[in-house]
Structures are given as C-alpha cells and as structure tokens.
C-alpha cells in the first residue's frame, strides 16, 4: 500500500459558509469504501497550507472573508506550489472565484485572485439562487451535474480554462456555461456540498489524485443515486 491519500480543506474558518464540509466527507467516504486510506487536514487561515496534499478543497464565503482568504493564500504560497506540481484543487462558489485571475470584492473593486485558473469574475446584476443542472464536458466522462447555486458572480473563461459544464437549468458562469477546469484544478458555482449529489465528480477528483479506482462495494452508492434521481426529477419532471 502506498501512502494515504491526503485531503486538505483550506480555511474552513473563512471559507465554509454552507455545508462545505460535505465535499470533504464525500471524498473521504468514497475513498475509504474502496479501501484507500485517507488522511484529512483542516487548515485554518492562521496555519500554513501543507505542500504535500493530494486534493485541496475550498468552500464558499462572504465577500470580506473571500478577500482575506485570497490574501493569505497568496502570502502562504502553499496552494500554488501544490497546484504547480499537479495536486488536485476543487473549489466551489467563492473559492472558485478565488482560483481565478480576479473577482469582485466587497466594495465593488476588483480583487486579484490566485491565478490558478484562467477565469475572471465580477458581480452580476442579480443574485442567482436555486437549483442548477448542467451537462459536463464529455471529455471528463462525468454524469450531468445537479446542485444548488447561490451567488451574484458572473465568470468569463480565458483561453487556458475549459468550461466544466453547460447549464440546462440555472445560471452558472452566466453565459450558458458552468464552472471551469484546467489540468487538475476545477471550480464550480454549485455551492456547498456539491459532491453529495454528484458522486461522479467526486470520483473524477479521486481518480485524478489516486489513479484508477477499485469499484465501490455493492449498494454503497445507492442512497446518493436515489437523492440524485429525486433532485433531477424534481426540476425536470418530464424526464
């Protein structure tokens, strides 16, 4: 057995507005169910970001904490170092914007982001709140996304980033696309515990980090699948 898979949750003290722990729990569970040992590090904003993680997670947050988190991550440098050597980064909502070149801050001014993803975010006219459904880039081989979005961001992708998905319901980036990825850095507006209803996306991240995955034990994913089916049916009853 190789060393345990290291999951690093970045700044739960600043970026964990709404159920963001769910992504950590889902990755941990789906790895363990496959017999992969897991180590979890929760890193607060007064602690150094470990350089040797395999999957880094960033959650959502209000405007001020988002800006503070970005400044500290810039100063720390750990996430850059990890991403540059090919670690997986998964960020939702405010965390997604933080990965980009810039985003809209609390007072309306643009704040420089971490530059790990070629996206630029600003503030939209209206808040996007509600269920979101989006079809994932076929290259990623992940089933349709189902989730909840709650943000006022508008995001434009540069040439170095690819859209994660195309929206069939909801707002996402604001131009018919949703989320973005480049290499193993991936962000989405599906907020909070986005991986709960999207185990396929969770498995993509695990695959990126650990290589081909052994199958899950029978029935282990059944409830999540039922929830996923129920949510997709609730927003598109004709399907």
């Amino acid at each position: 057995m190789t060393r345990p898979l290291r999951l690093v949750w970045i700044y739960p003290d600043l970026l964990s507005t709404y159920g963001d722990r769910g992504n950590l729990l889902v990755l941990e569970r789906r790895a363990r169910l496959r017999g992969l040992p897991v180590e979890v590090a929760e890193v607060n904003s007064n602690q150094p970001v470990p350089r040797d993680g395999d999957i880094y997670l960033m959650g959502g947050g209000e405007d001020l904490p988002q800006t503070l988190a970005t400044r500290r991550l810039q100063a720390d440098g750990g996430l850059h170092e990890a991403a540059n050597r090919g670690a997986v980064v998964f960020a939702v909502c405010a965390g997604y914007q933080v990965l980009g070149m810039e985003f809209g801050g609390a007072d309306g001014a643009q704040v420089p982001g971490l530059g790990l993803l070629d996206i630029r975010s600003g503030r939209g006219e209206r808040r996007a709140v509600g269920e979101i459904v989006a079809d994932v880039d076929p290259a990623l081989n992940v089933p349709r996304l189902t989730g909840f979005e709650n943000h006022q961001g508008v995001t434009r992708l540069g040439p170095q980033a690819r859209p994660l998905a195309r929206t069939t319901l909801g707002t996402g980036n604001g131009d018919g696309t949703e989320g973005a990825y480049a290499g193993r850095v991936l962000g989405t507006y599906l907020h909070g515990p986005a991986l709960v209803r999207n185990p396929g996306l969770a498995d993509l991240l695990l695959h990126w980090a650990a290589g081909p995955l052994p199958p899950l034990p029978p029935q282990a994913g059944e409830l999540a699948q039922r929830l996923r089916d129920e949510r997709l049916a609730a927003v598109s009853p004709s399907q």
Binding site: D20, R29, N44, V129
Partner: protein, 408 residues
C-alpha cells in the same frame, strides 16, 4: 388624528382576520401601514419598546422577557406568533393600543429599520449564525448593519451576548450595553475577528483578536451551567421547565432585560420557571400511547442545541427536514451539523427531503430508517420505548403539529 384612525382600522382588520380563524398577526398591520406608512412609529411612540433579534431563540426569548416583565403589572404588547417584520410588529401594537410596554421579536434583517422606527428602550442581540442563506442576508454584512443602526441610536440600551464575537462586535457601537455571558455552542461562524478578519484566539468562552485588539467585553450577567450569576455576583439556580442550554441562555438574557425595567431577579425568575412551552415548541403530546415531544430547529446552530436536549436512548429520534420557502430551499446546511452522537440510537428519518438527510446520516455512519409519516414513526417507536423525540425544521414541524392537533 390620522394615526388614531389608522390604528382603529388596523385593529379592526386584525379582529376581522381573527374571526376568520387565523391568528390575525399580519393582516391588520398590512392594511394599517397602507393607510398610514408611519403607523408603526406612531404606535410605538410613548411606549417602552424591547426589540429581540438573533438567528435562534427569538420567539422563546420574547416569550421569556414578556413573562419576566409580568411583575410590573402592566399590559405588554407582543407578537407572540412570531410575525416579526414591520407588519407583524404593527399588528401587535395595534391589538394592544393601551399597553405601555411592547416586547417585539424582530427579524434580523429588519433591525436597522425597526430601531429607527420604534425608538426602542432595549434591543436584545442573542446570536448570529448561518441561516437559510438562499433568502437571508450574509451574516458579516448583517452584523455591520446592526452596528451602524445601534451607533445611530444613542438612547437605547443593548443587551447582548458577549460570547458571540459577531454579536459583540455589532453591539459594541452602542452607547449603553449590558453584556451577558450567554454562551455560544455553535462556533463555525466566528473563528475570525469580525473587525479585521484575523483568526481569533478562543479559550473556553473567552475570545480575543491578536491583530486589532478586539476582545470579549467584560460581562455583568453570566450563565454558568444551570446557574445564573447576576451583576452583584450572586449565583442562583435557574431551574427552568424549558429544556436545554439554549433556553438557559435565553433566560439569562431575559433576566438582564427585566433588570433594565427594574424587575428584581427573584421575581422575574419565578415567572420564567412557569413557562413550559412556546408556540408548540417542547410540547409533549400523547398519540396512541406514545409520548411525543416536538423540538423545532431551523439551522445548524439550532440543530446542534436541539441534539443536546434529546431524551436519552432507548427513546427513538425522528428527524424531519423539508425545504419549502420558509425552511430555505437549499438543504446544504445539513452538512454543517455533526450527527455522529446519534450513533447507536434508534433514528427515524422523515420529511419531504428525507433522502438529503439520509445521505447525510450515511456519511456520518449513523444507521437510520426512512418513514413516510408521523404515525409510521409512532408505530416503530412504540415497539421499543414509551416515548418518541421529534426534531424537525420549520414546515416539517408545522406539518407534524397539524397532524397532532387533529387528534387532540
């Protein structure tokens, strides 16, 4: 004259709506405000108004403060049904035109406007944590708005929980503050300094910012276990009928408000001990031989406190979650609650979003059984225990109450 006329109309509308079988909380206020937009401020003039706000415990604390002020022997206006925005406050005052005191539960977002409108004698700030973010404001922003509103209201006394950093920061702009060590069970929204954003040093209930010097203010009232320590330093057992740490915290706040009205702790405490349930919360109901207790919790902080007060095993626990408008349509918050302490218990899962909760419990390795309705839960419970504990969020709670009401 115009105000008096509109008041009469507002009161009449409330009467009409009461006769129609509703509680009459809002209709009168809506009509009255349409006739006279300044109605609330006119109705509040010459009264001693207490505004009660916070994410959790507003309804209960409003009820407790009303009880604690009873020894004054004066009529008290209050929005006891929880209609806590402008129309609800207006209706409450319209219905009690002669009441010299008003204790008004107020929605967190409306505090700045209501402070301006009602010129309160006391503003109570209980706590601030994440809650239904698909429709509620973000809490750092909310704290800033409270802070600005209180800075602009030098005549009012703030009674605030010093143990909640966000609340303390908001309250510290007020001219006069009674600081209460009311405790803080849920801390996930206050690891960082609300003033400068640095990670806070926290040691027990104490907190301090290493960067900007912000710190927990010195307190005059303290909740210590089941005891209240009053400003004279004397310790008294609370001995409430209402269960749980959160209610002990609410009670100490109520005692601090009573003091501002000159009611002695001994008298006030006697009244608090007589309160057994608040708007259906904590009610015990017998259904087909099973003693059911209903607990309401709407957000992660509320669930954390409610899980603390559950009766011990073997009593089964029915958890129920909906995601209708009043609940918030997003169930993400379920992932902020730690359910691991339910391991080894008999757990039943219901409500319209039971699958969301089921997946959550599975992740925490808490075995459970899905149920379709309350009676299915009662049947399963009766097989193993004489009682069933029910913990539900807002509309799930109301649905169960309606079911139980029909058999009363």
């Amino acid at each position: 004259m115009r105000a008096r006329l509109a008041t009469t109309v507002g009161g009449a509308a409330a009467t009409v709506s009461r006769l129609a079988g509703r509680d009459g909380s809002v209709i009168g206020g809506i009509i009255g405000l349409r006739l006279e937009p300044g109605l609330l401020s006119l109705l509040a003039a010459d009264r001693q108004v207490v505004l009660v706000t916070g994410t959790n415990g507003k309804t209960t604390t409003t009820r407790l403060i009303t009880a604690a002020l009873a020894p004054l022997g004066q009529e008290i206006a209050s929005n006891i049904y929880g209609a806590n925005m402008e129309a609800g406050l207006t209706s409450a005052l319209s219905r009690a035109p002669g009441a010299p005191i008003a204790v008004l539960e107020t929605d967190e977002k409306y505090i700045p406007a209501m402070v301006k409108t009602t010129n309160p004698k006391v503003v109570v700030l209980l706590n601030l944590s994440r809650d239904q973010m698909d429709r509620a404001a973000e809490i750092w922003l909310l704290a800033r708005r409270w802070r600005e509103a209180l800075a602009a209201a030098p005549g009012c006394r703030v009674v605030a929980n010093a143990d909640d950093p966000l609340v303390a920061w908001a309250a510290s702009s007020a001219r006069q503050v009674t600081w209460v060590a009311a405790g803080q069970r849920w801390r996930e929204d206050s690891w960082c300094c609300p003033n400068c954003g640095s990670h806070l040093h926290r040691d027990g209930d104490d907190w301090a910012c290493g960067e900007c010097g912000g710190r927990r203010p010195p307190v005059s009232w303290v909740l210590s276990g089941d005891q209240v320590i009053d400003p004279s330093g004397r310790s008294t057992p609370l001995d409430l009928k209402l269960p749980g740490r959160a209610n002990r915290s609410n009670a100490v706040i109520a005692l601090a408000v009573a003091e501002a009205f000159g009611v002695h702790i001994t008298q006030a405490l006697g009244e608090l001990r007589a309160v057994t349930s608040v708007a259906g919360r904590y009610t015990q109901v017998n259904r087909r031989g099973c003693e059911i207790r209903l607990l309401l919790a709407k957000n992660p902080a509320g669930w954390l406190e409610a899980l603390d007060v559950l009766a011990p095993a073997p009593a089964p626990v029915l958890l129920a979650v909906n995601a209708q408008g009043p609940d918030g349509r997003d169930t993400s918050w379920l992932w902020d609650v730690d359910y691991r302490r339910l391991r080894g218990r008999n757990v039943l899962v219901g409500g319209e979003r039971k699958l969301d909760l089921a997946v959550r419990l599975e992740a925490d390795e808490v075995p459970f059984r899905l149920v379709n309705d309350l009676d299915e839960a009662v049947d399963l419970a009766r097989a193993v225990a004489p009682n069933l504990e029910v913990l539900a969020n807002y509309t799930a709670f109301q649905q169960y109450r309606a079911v139980l009401g029909r058999t009363q």
